[in-house]
């Protein structure tokens, strides 16, 4: 059996272990809450994390991978939340790497490791590239936070800027060739 087929035979176990490991990055009481709540509106973190893990397991374990759009959507589901929670960047993205340890732990029960050493490395490289994409999304989310902060300040004072003649329109009128600069 191929290495990926071997992992697929334990697909559900791997997904649950990965999901639970991510839940365990939260404080103890919260991990329990995330695990038990199935209502996506009462427990969005738990349900979204689970959905992301399911999609990523598919991507990592199937022979045919998700396309970029679907992969980014799955990662966004996980990373967008962790980017605004109380995690360092490493801990936010680190959730992705947890799958490596899980596979290493479970593999001996599934088959002989030495038969698959190369496939393991290939699998782990795939995890790394997924994590790099996650890093891009993380940075995008954090950048968005700063952009939103600026936009909010502008919105809040919109009429005061206009009163002071400081709106974009007024500025554009004064410097007609500003586009060319």
């Amino acid at each position: 059996m191929s290495f990926l087929a071997l992992l697929r035979s334990d697909r559900e176990g791997i997904a649950i272990a990965w999901r639970d490991a991510i839940y365990s990055t939260y404080p103890f009481d919260t991990a329990g809450f995330l695990r038990k709540g199935q209502d996506e509106f009462k427990n969005p973190v738990g349900v979204r994390t689970d959905a992301a893990v399911q999609a990523l397991v598919k991507h990592l374990l199937e022979e045919t991978v998700l396309d970029d759009v679907a992969l980014d959507a799955a990662l966004d589901e996980l990373v967008r939340i962790r980017a605004v929670q109380d995690f360092t960047p490493g801990k936010a993205i680190g959730a992705l790497f947890l799958i490596k340890g899980i596979v290493r732990q479970r593999l001996p029960k599934l088959g002989k490791l030495k038969d698959h050493a190369e496939a393991v490395l290939r699998f782990e490289s795939k995890v790394d590239s997924v994590a790099l994409r996650a890093f891009d999304i993380y940075v995008k989310c954090r950048t968005q936070l700063y952009e939103m902060r600026l936009k909010e300040i502008k919105n809040r004072h919109a009429m005061l800027f206009r009163h002071a003649g400081l709106t974009a329109d007024a500025a554009a009128e004064e410097t007609p060739d500003s586009d060319q600069q």
């Binding site: 605004v84 490596k100 340890g101 939103m148 936009k151 909010e152």
Partner: protein, 542 residues
């Protein structure tokens, strides 16, 4: 193969999970982004509040008064005697946990101390440790703990992560209102000079100039005129709203965000157009130029003081009743506190009657204040205004119940009636996220400041999640609300969690749909964007 057998923590070579210590031992770590900036000394000085100084939560020393312990103890004792509700809330919690997973900050962030029960416990444990015999003797075993500097820091951290939204109280079998616990905790912190600028500066400005931004009367008037210019551009009709004029039946008060901030201004334009169309006898006021009342988040005394201008101005101008704009916490103050704080109302005020329909607003007998959504819904019920829904046809609208109008005054139907009269495409978010159970915007109670954007976003996840659901299911592209803070805070919330959904006030939709006598053919909406339905009908004609 040993190295293939590493645990996840070993693999990453740092502790991944949260430290497994008791909640009381786990101390908050302050860092940029997880606290709102302290109030500036001049702001505190202007207000005559205690302990003005430069300080930062990042510093070890918060420069508290020397006798700070005594101040907290005395402050707590005083409030336990004055507010029976506070004493009860301290005594009766059975830690059943029903409220634990109901707070948006806990749901979105996962920090156990944002569970309402533990949030209140931060204060309750001191109450037990300092004020109950069992707690004094048994300490920790009776759920008590001593008052230390760390406790004060923890209070600042967590009581400024509560938006006083009251969602938790809905689920408590004893009706414990953690929002009120937060209010008292913030009062105690105020006594030490531990507060945030985002709240105190608006309070100072309101106290001195009448509105949050401290805009003076002439500038306020100019800006209203700018908005009238825009209305004229769009409709061809020139509106001249009366300002500070005596002898009008109605005094109209709205949050100043409606006058200064985008997109609140479009809601404001909607009000003015409506009043013009029905010929309402009203005046605006530059003295009562703020419906909002950040005193609610500061102290009972400050709330009372800032609220007082409403009746004072109604009396000065001789208005019979007050019509209030789309605001959240303004209505919590009016509905819950105004008549005990500043009532009874001036003697010449009367129970509000809609001059157009004759409806008597008996619900406003006590305060003499009517919410604009009630007023407009009444006009619509009596068929007194003409609305062209086609102008809003490109909008698929949902409605965010703002916490205060929803849980603080029980207004659910009227805004929905108004929206449905203005738009054909209305979709509700899931039942467990609206009406009484509505999820907060996570920026209420003075937390709508940009430096804590990430806290707001995690707290905003439950609302954003429900919004994304209707966006995906029904193509919702607009979320309407009746709160000025929401009109600001929901913009980043939607941008982050449901990008593509815009935010508007309910009366922006009214202003767009309203057919006005003598108006030119409308080609633009209030934001001066082309009206899409015109293109579509032109194509059909061709």
């Amino acid at each position: 193969m040993a190295k293939f057998n590493m645990t996840p923590d070993e693999l990453l070579n740092f502790q991944f999970g949260a430290p497994n210590v008791g909640w009381m031992e786990h101390k908050p770590v302050f860092k940029e982004g997880n606290f709102a900036y302290p109030a500036k000394p001049d702001v505190i000085r202007d207000l005559g509040f205690p302990n003005p100084r430069e300080w930062s939560p990042l510093d070890e020393d918060w420069k508290l008064p020397e006798n700070w312990m005594e101040i907290v103890r005395e402050g707590m004792k005083d409030r336990l005697e004055r507010y029976r509700s506070f004493k009860i809330f301290m005594d009766i919690c059975v830690r059943c946990g029903a409220c634990a997973d109901k707070c948006h900050f806990y749901i979105g962030g996962g920090d156990p101390k944002n569970m309402p029960v533990l949030r209140a416990e931060l204060l309750r444990s001191i109450y037990r440790g300092e004020f109950t015999a069992a707690g004094k003797i048994l300490g920790k075993w009776a759920g008590g703990r001593p008052l230390t500097m760390d406790v004060v820091k923890e209070w600042f951290f967590y009581f400024y992560q509560c938006t006083e939204c009251r969602r938790c109280s809905l689920f408590c079998p004893y009706g414990i209102d953690t929002a009120e616990v937060t209010m008292i905790a913030r009062e105690l912190l105020q006594l030490l000079g531990v507060n945030i600028n985002w709240m105190m500066e608006p309070v100072r400005n309101c106290n001195r100039m009448g509105n949050h931004l401290g805009i003076q009367p002439h500038a306020f008037k100019d800006i209203v005129e700018f908005l009238c210019d825009d209305i004229e551009t769009i409709t061809g009709i020139r509106i001249k709203p009366p300002m500070n004029e005596k002898g009008h039946e109605v005094l109209f008060i709205t949050p100043s965000g409606d006058v200064f901030a985008d997109p609140g201004i479009y809601t404001f334009m909607g009000y003015l157009m409506l009043f013009h169309e029905i010929g309402l006898d009203y005046t605006l006021s530059t003295y009562a130029s703020e419906g909002g009342n950040f005193g609610l988040f500061t102290s009972h005394e400050m709330m009372k003081k800032l609220n007082a201008k409403m009746y004072a101005e109604a009396e000065r101008l001789g208005s019979k009743w007050i019509l209030g704009g789309e605001c959240g916490h303004m209505w919590r103050v009016i509905n819950q506190y105004m008549s005990t704080h500043n009532g009874p109302c001036p003697p010449k005020m009367e129970t509000p009657v809609n001059p157009i329909t004759g409806t008597v607003f008996r619900n406003a007998t006590e305060t003499k204040m009517v919410h604009i959504a009630e007023f407009t819904a009444d006009l619509i019920r009596h068929n007194k205004i003409k609305l062209d829904k086609r102008r809003n046809a490109h909008l698929n609208v949902t409605f965010h119940d703002s916490c205060n109008p929803a849980r603080g005054m029980g207004m659910f139907e009227e805004p929905r009636e108004v929206i449905k009269a203005c738009c054909d495409n209305f979709f509700e978010m899931p039942a467990q996220t609206i009406r009484e159970q509505t999820f907060c915007c996570a920026g209420g109670s003075g937390l709508n400041t940009e430096e804590i954007m990430e806290i707001r976003m995690r707290g905003g996840l439950p609302r954003g999640n429900a919004l994304r659901h209707v966006q995906q299911k029904h193509n919702v592209n607009t979320m309407a609300c009746v709160c000025a803070i929401d009109r600001a805070t929901l913009i980043p919330l939607a941008d982050y969690w449901a990008p593509g959904v815009g935010i508007c006030g309910v009366h922006e939709l009214v202003g767009n749909a309203l057919i006005m006598k003598g108006e030119q053919e409308r080609t633009m909406d209030l934001r001066q964007n082309d009206l899409p339905y015109l293109d579509e009908s032109a194509e059909e004609d061709a």
